[in-house]
Symmetry: C3
């Protein structure tokens, strides 16, 4: 009976996590609560499915489910649903062209950021795990981020590729090997670099990275320590930019499944829907 | 190996529950099986999302996903999907105006009621747990319920507020402190009062309340014992009314995530879709 | 602490399975990755829901959610979503007329087949478990399967009914009691017979059947051993036919919830969407 009790305790801990979005933390980027993708690098267009082609109804469904023709620079009409909602199934991801890219997100309300979670489908069931992101950089903003400096920016050729190796739960923010021009946005707060392990065991597909407090200003010159906002004045943000520096080996596209943003809300609710 | 066996047994019990809708019981209110919301107190209209406003396709999607303009007295077009289907994510709820309200539900088929389950998103991941319902009353009907007596009825000022304290799995039905006029419907069966604990641990977010058998008639005069239908003639119902007497502190609205109705089906299938 | 460690290990094993689609195997029939239902025996039309009838928006939603009027011989517009996607809830199934039938599926890409998984909703929560399939036969094809020999084929009267008893994880392929004409398709590979246990415990609702290697050719004459493709030349398939020989007792229809196809992909990706 002692055994049974210990087993029950351990099970309950895992069940609590499992039934609390696998993080136990509120997600302030959640689409259904008001989070939204407001800009991103170009998305990959897959071949039309047979179903969509077969009928008008199928075509309409295809459009509603995320594969309309995309004018250049437009926001994918299902971007928020694809990236900022629970994963429904393999394939339901935001597919960015090439092995790098970026996404700008408006949060449901202003927060003091504390952590970020990224989730891909587990390697065990993936059809092609190479499209998972690998090196990621997170920037915070007050107000909508300015466009990235060049083209769709943050290319593999950029210095962000050198951010690899700064990874895991204790990711260091404000590393000096990030070239400030690559961030392409004055006023950005560098929230951290992290590496997503696409080959972790399936139960660890949701990976939460603690952000350094206080966040460093990205505008710091190379070689300098970034400015520190004092702990007493830790800045609130209402937008973030996720920069994909590299993926796990797919040259054609990078599939983004789910980003969650954690922190302490400040001020009145912003874009929120009832919940 | 003895340890391992005990652990496996405990895990299997929890996995069976988890994979059986977390209750192990059929849900006769399930929308996909024919259950439907047929009336409710007014719903709260959130601000239009940026996505919906941005394009015609977005606007159509918004409409399909539940936020069309609502004429007074109309049934929210996604009410059944929002309240009588598995919870998809935070925010996907039926948002009733104010801290109280009511919803009338047609069951998939007639049943002898035995239990009811209510589920909210766990406090650990909620953006605002104050919108969770607190004191609930469940009524049963044969045929569609008549409209509530006054306005949108069952207000905080009504005597149902006094039903607090009758709660939990062993909730008593037919308590004398329910004023029959407050029920607003002759022929109603008072199935029970219960209190939803919005601050329970995440794995206990689905809360099942056993109903007293046989259900008491709500039409009993105050101070009298309600009539008892004999056990041999326990009455079948095909509609229920969920009355929200209070919530966990949000003055603006109450979000209803999922109601499940349990019991023994009687007679032929009614509104059922194939399953 | 030894106890706790053992409990944690056992929990982790189950969590890994649970978070890896409950099989730990990629599913090459998955709709979102390019799998598609391309033909099937007639589907059952349920009564229109009250919601659909109540408004134009409701009717549109009904159409999008799978209940449009169906011309004879047409593919149900949501067949792929219903059968080749994660189960969303009871009722979200492909409902074939009668207690037998068949479905042809194009895989996301060519594979050497190794196993197949079928999943129904658990008996504990089902409204009517009799509609679950019972005896199943799986055929493999290169290219689209030819139409079944007669009517909607594979009726209970056919000799496939005699395949019962060959079941479970170690199902034998190429049994001599399958009359080759009943397969109705030259060039078909008989991948196996299996029996779905609809009354298994809820955590075992996903049942995986290992396929015999190498698959036997269905064209073998009765009483003969089927041809064996050499292990060095195990044939790749890109289409399958699921034949339902019988169900668990419902005369009106058989509900198919989810089929997964496992194996080793060969050659370039075919119908795949990004993932
Ligand atoms: K997602
Ligand atoms: K729901
Ligand atoms: K399904």
């Amino acid at each position: 009976r002692g055994l049974r009790q210990v087993a029950r305790e351990e099970i309950e801990v895992q069940l609590d996590l499992l039934t609390a979005d696998r993080t136990g933390l509120p997600d302030w980027a959640l689409a259904s609560a008001g989070g939204a993708v407001v800009a991103h690098s170009p998305t990959h267009s897959p071949p039309t499915t047979g179903e969509g082609a077969a009928s008008r109804l199928g075509a309409l469904r295809d459009r509603l489910q995320g594969w309309p023709p995309m004018p250049a620079g437009a926001v994918h009409p299902l971007a928020s649903k694809l990236l900022l909602s629970p994963i429904s199934q393999p394939g339901a991801c935001l597919p960015l062209v090439s092995s790098s890219g970026w996404v700008d997100i408006r949060l449901a309300r202003p927060i003091i950021p504390t952590a970020v979670s990224y989730q891909h489908i587990p390697a065990a069931v993936a059809h092609d795990i190479r499209s998972a992101p690998r090196n990621l950089t997170l920037l915070g903003f007050r107000g909508a981020p300015p466009p990235p400096a060049e083209g769709h920016g943050y290319s593999r050729e950029g210095s962000l590729g050198g951010a690899a190796g700064l990874s895991g739960e204790g990711s260091r923010a404000g590393s000096a090997d990030v070239h400030p021009d690559a961030l392409g946005a004055s006023g950005a707060l560098l929230l951290g670099h992290f590496t997503y392990d696409a080959h972790a065991r399936s139960s660890a597909a949701v990976q939460t990275f603690t952000l350094a407090r206080p966040p460093a200003r990205a505008a710091a010159a190379p070689g300098q320590q970034p400015e520190h906002a004092g702990a007493a004045a830790a800045p609130a943000i209402d937008h973030i930019r996720l920069v994909v520096g590299s993926n796990h080996g797919h040259a054609g596209y990078t599939c983004l499944y789910r980003l969650r943003m954690h922190g302490t809300p400040v001020g009145p609710a912003g874009n929120g829907a009832p919940e």
